[in-house]
């Protein structure tokens, strides 16, 4: 278990800048999730931490020790690959034991460690099987077992759930959370799925185009997004954005310099009969999820908008409904898209 420090890390392939100066502190035992859209550089950053990519400039330190020039094998980290990268010709046991054999660990010690990991991950019945004979979830657990058995300073996960189906993904997500609670290691986890990020992370690092947009606890990011990108990326359905000064916002006092207004669908309400509405929404689509509903449409000035309603939303396509904004949950962004005030 260890802490990790990144200082001004950049990575370029020729003229293409993939990472544009990343600074990050990860505390011992922390579960940090890198999240961002495809191509934001999150996987490259993870591979740079792993030592699989050399950084163009900047420093990486583990437990205060500079490892920038060290090779992947020297850094003492373990990684779970998106593809799992199980050795297809080796049994589950040999897959898990391989790293320990490379370290020339005594045979009994290897056996004990493999069995402990297998027990923890419920892999004991499959130790003699080849990866090809396992289900997706089992392969996933072997990949984790291969990482756990090494007792690494930091676990690195590269989109480990993306090859699983939806149901298994939810189940494995919970297992991962439980695993972290049990072994308590430092974990860096890459995903493009913000639900994974919100549910698993102690802290989330939101990346876009090779830059850190915001670092913070999940609820901080949700409640106090630092900029318009984070506001839009975290939360589902996405936050509604309106131009400051547009007609539906007439009743609101915009702070000085505001250019964009944002409110999440769950922080807008349908005005009950007689209640004063901030804006009027003409409904295009209503999604009824059972416990809640979402109405999608356009406000009077044509801006697209979504609002969450209770389970009994009666509106239909073509209806016009009044919408109120929760005054405590409004977001304003300035010319530079940074959040104002707050």
């Amino acid at each position: 278990m260890a802490s990790l420090t990144l200082r001004e890390v950049t990575k370029a392939y020729g003229a293409t800048q993939i990472l544009k100066g990343i600074d990050l502190e990860v505390a011992d035992g922390e579960f940090v999730v890198f999240v961002g859209p495809s191509g934001c550089g999150k996987s490259t950053l993870l591979r740079a931490i792993a030592g699989l990519e050399r950084v163009t400039s900047g420093r990486i330190a583990i437990d205060g020790r500079d490892v920038t020039q060290e090779r992947a094998s020297e850094r003492g980290l373990a990684m779970v690959f998106q593809s799992y990268a199980l050795y297809p010709h080796m049994s589950v046991y040999r897959n898990i034991a391989f790293a320990l054999e490379n370290l020339r660990m005594p045979r009994e010690e290897i056996d004990a460690r493999v069995r402990r990991a297998a027990k923890m991950l419920r892999l004991e019945p499959y130790l003699d099987r080849k990866p090809g004979a396992l289900s997706g979830g089992q392969r996933q657990r072997v990949a984790i077992g291969r990482a756990v058995v090494r007792d690494p300073k930091i676990f690195l996960f590269d989109e480990p759930l993306s090859n699983l189906d939806a149901e298994l993904r939810v189940a494995t997500r919970k297992e991962l959370a439980a695993l972290h609670a049990e072994i308590g290691g430092t974990i860096i986890y890459v995903t493009h799925d913000q639900v994974e990020a919100m549910t698993l992370a102690d802290r989330i690092v939101v990346l876009q185009a090779g830059k850190v947009e915001q670092i913070g606890a999940p609820l901080d990011l949700y409640n106090r997004p630092a900029n318009r990108f984070v506001a839009g990326f975290i939360g589902s359905p996405k936050m509604n954005f309106l131009a400051a000064g547009s007609a539906p916002l007439a009743a609101l006092a915009a702070p000085a310099g505001a250019r964009t207004f944002g409110v999440r669908p769950e922080h807008a309400m349908i005005a009950r009969d007689g209640e004063a509405a901030d804006a009027r929404l003409s409904v295009d689509i209503v999604e009824r999820l059972g416990g809640e509903s979402y109405a999608y449409g356009a406000l009077q000035d044509g801006a697209p908008f979504c609002v969450r309603a209770g389970d009994a939303l009666a509106a239909r396509r073509g209806d016009s409904i009044g919408v109120r904004f929760d005054r405590a949950r409004l977001h304003w962004f300035g010319e530079d898209d940074l959040a104002l005030g707050a």
Partner: protein, 349 residues
Amino acid sequence: MKASLLTRRRAPGRLDWTDIVSYAYLALGVVMMFGPVLWLALSSFKTPAALIEFPPSFLPAAQRVVTVEGYAQPLELYRVRQPDGSVKEMAQIRRVGLQAQMVDPAAPAAAPVRVPIEAREPLREIAFAWSNYTEPLKAFSFGRFFANSLFVTVVATLITLLINSMAAYALSIYEFRGKTAALTMVIGTLMIPITIILAPVYLVVSAIGLNNSLWAVILPGAATPTGVFLLRQYMLTLPRDLIEAARMDHASEWRIYARIVMPLAAPALAVLAIFSIMWRWNEFLWPLAVLTRSEVYTLQIGLNAFQGELQTQWHYLLAMTVMTLLPVALVFVFLQRFITTGIANTGMK
């Protein structure tokens, strides 16, 4: 007319004339391809006497002989037309000009009779002259040649697999300075058959002191550009994640090669192994040039030498030819599908 033969599909369920032509062609193919080898095999069991017969008999046959009381040597049996028109089996004692002295094996005590040779017809039976096979093993160094060929084939194939897979690994897994140059070099050597550097390779081999040693046959062809290519193409398809995972697992580069890449490249290694075995077992021109002492002859060179020396001893030559092709035939029977798909996929042989 030939046109519809050339299209791929026929109407299902019906046997039309194009099918008949096709099967006729295939049947002819079977005769043309197998026939000569079958003929060689049958001939190799014939006695020297049966071999020089014209027209040749189809199956190996030999004259029946019989031991007759009072005669030290077994005598050849003939069917003899008697002056009275009846036919009788008699043994020939000796032949004098156009007359043969013959005796009735049932009555050895009776005086030999003279029979004109056109009145007698040899009695024959199917007989396999195994001595064609056993005698060369004793009399000539056939066993030695066989062992030499085996040694060359096995050792050369092992070396080829090892060094070519190492090179292919370097050229498929790493990025390094000079990689393009190395690849170009490999392509370059692809175009240089040993045919055109015969004499200088001979000099190199002599200078190293390998003259008339089996190593002179083994070493020059051990690094094959074909092999490097074949293995590299395959290794390029292995997921990079596996290599990186192994590196994260503290595996040394050699261990990644030996424990991860080699087992996964087994199908390509098997194809190269089979190619190498074929090349080495059948190799001719270079061993012919470099091996001049008969103790180090490989089978092919030994066989070629025999066909010069034993021009009149076809019975040995044919038997040895069969023994030379037998291992290849066995390999083919068991690995046919594997070999043909390997070749179809790589376009090499």
